[in-house]
Symmetry: D3
Subunit: 123 residues, 6 copies
Amino acid sequence: MTEIDRLELGKKTLNMVDGPAADNVMNSLKDIAPDVGKYIFEWAFSDIYNRPELDLKQREMITIATLLTQGDTAAQLKVHINGSLNVGLTKEEIVETFIHCLPYVGFPKVLNAINVAREVFND
Amino acid sequence: MTEIDRLELGKKTLNMVDGPAADNVMNSLKDIAPDVGKYIFEWAFSDIYNRPELDLKQREMITIATLLTQGDTAAQLKVHINGSLNVGLTKEEIVETFIHCLPYVGFPKVLNAINVAREVFND
Amino acid sequence: MTEIDRLELGKKTLNMVDGPAADNVMNSLKDIAPDVGKYIFEWAFSDIYNRPELDLKQREMITIATLLTQGDTAAQLKVHINGSLNVGLTKEEIVETFIHCLPYVGFPKVLNAINVAREVFND
Amino acid sequence: MTEIDRLELGKKTLNMVDGPAADNVMNSLKDIAPDVGKYIFEWAFSDIYNRPELDLKQREMITIATLLTQGDTAAQLKVHINGSLNVGLTKEEIVETFIHCLPYVGFPKVLNAINVAREVFND
Amino acid sequence: MTEIDRLELGKKTLNMVDGPAADNVMNSLKDIAPDVGKYIFEWAFSDIYNRPELDLKQREMITIATLLTQGDTAAQLKVHINGSLNVGLTKEEIVETFIHCLPYVGFPKVLNAINVAREVFND
Amino acid sequence: MTEIDRLELGKKTLNMVDGPAADNVMNSLKDIAPDVGKYIFEWAFSDIYNRPELDLKQREMITIATLLTQGDTAAQLKVHINGSLNVGLTKEEIVETFIHCLPYVGFPKVLNAINVAREVFND
């Protein structure tokens, strides 16, 4: 795949997942670190997200679990809770993904993620 | 549900997921911290794992993603990569779950998890 | 102990530790993830907090040390710095718990925790 | 070196790196945990920062990499992105330090650090 | 306090807490990074551990909680579980400190710490 | 740049930094997750490592600081301490990079990294 093809596929995929939130991230990077935006398109959302072994619902479920676990990711969780809804996960499945993490990471990280979900669901 | 019922349901569920590995964890806790084993049965594998919103394949996928992300969890990843196979995830889906985490956590944690998977797959 | 007994004991214990802050956490969970509130009562504040081996002052000291260490827990630290005062720790003991963590976690996490303590003490 | 000498050297070094931001940190500690400020002067910015093996540009580059990696350090990153500029790193070198961390820690932590850099650069 | 005094006080305190394990750490640093050993004596075990606000039992309890929480600290936990016994904590209090962390950090980190405790108790 | 060009440039760069250790990582990925090896070449060591804003000595200094900070990275630290020597950092600069992290991450992570450095230096 050429560099242009990877960029285009990444834009299409990111748009499907994140919609307008994706544009905000890219615009915020334009002045200061445009190549980071390029790598998000070319690598994360083109090379990785389009691999056939998992579908987008599974990928977003994994994404919100890894974001919850690493902590200090409220901004990214907001984007990907929206993304989870966009690709077809229900609110119940999103919250249940967080609840399933309870025995592995404890309450504080799960409560933080639920707080972000509440904000997203209320919008 | 009574305390006995929760304990029994937890044992049944943990056995379904982890098989003999579960017994090892429980035995290793018997002398030093038996109640931790009790909480793993009653709470983690009874109350949490039996909630209807997600199936066991989804739960194990989330589990290995959260274990990979927090790091220093080789022992637990070993148990749950086995558990993932036991509930029907393929080797390809397990490795792909790890690969999907790459843009979120970077290469070191993903390489660590792949090393554990290699060991489990070779057994 | 029955499910109701565990719930009641948990409510009583959490109230003793956190007072009105506990109600806020529970209310915020009511619509979106009520079972998480139930687990906090039944498991964390009933099963765990009432074990006889440590008293509530020791438990809150451990709690604020673990919250400081994991990071991204300002909301939970606020609740448990208040909780520490409620169960009888002095302001000096709370700050000293943070200072003792300095050689183990470095300055950034300790400064973050001290900032939360300043807010709580000023209220 | 006497205690006074260490304190004075630390004040001088911290002032060179952080300027007015350093005073703010120290003032905010005065009432609640003055000794933490003392340790920052005596140990971090006297004993450590004045060791001859690395210069201040290298030290600030390492500092912003370690702050980015541990997460939940927006306040400290702000101080040390300013510090990086004060000791002679360019904006491009600062952002590139963050970009170099991408394969090791993933996008969320790097995007968080870039957001702090944008704020500092805009001031 | 002079540099020599701080060094001597730190040696005395570290010896009280860690006994022979302390010597091992110091010896292992002698060739490659002797100043790190110096800072452990002068700062951690002199300046910090001798502050009057908390006693050594409380300090070791906080230490093992923060080590458990940050993960990848088996070597340090081994030293400080021994240290906890040396300053008078019982095996039950040590294990209970770990159990109290369960709701805050989840099972994997607690199981890791219990495994280290089992090794230390068996020696 | 074409996919082949990126792959070739990545191989060349990784070989310069890591030498035979790089081959070991790639071989270990061949059966189970070959694309992860491909991304390490194409993205990490081609796209990122060849950006002109920082030189290889600076990049390896940042790499070992970020690896030390995230923890559970002994295998990767081993590769990159070797890499640091390969690109021209001295043993003193490597150890000093770790020492500089002390006030930011505390002693346990720094001691872990120094232990890996001792092993590498002794080989």
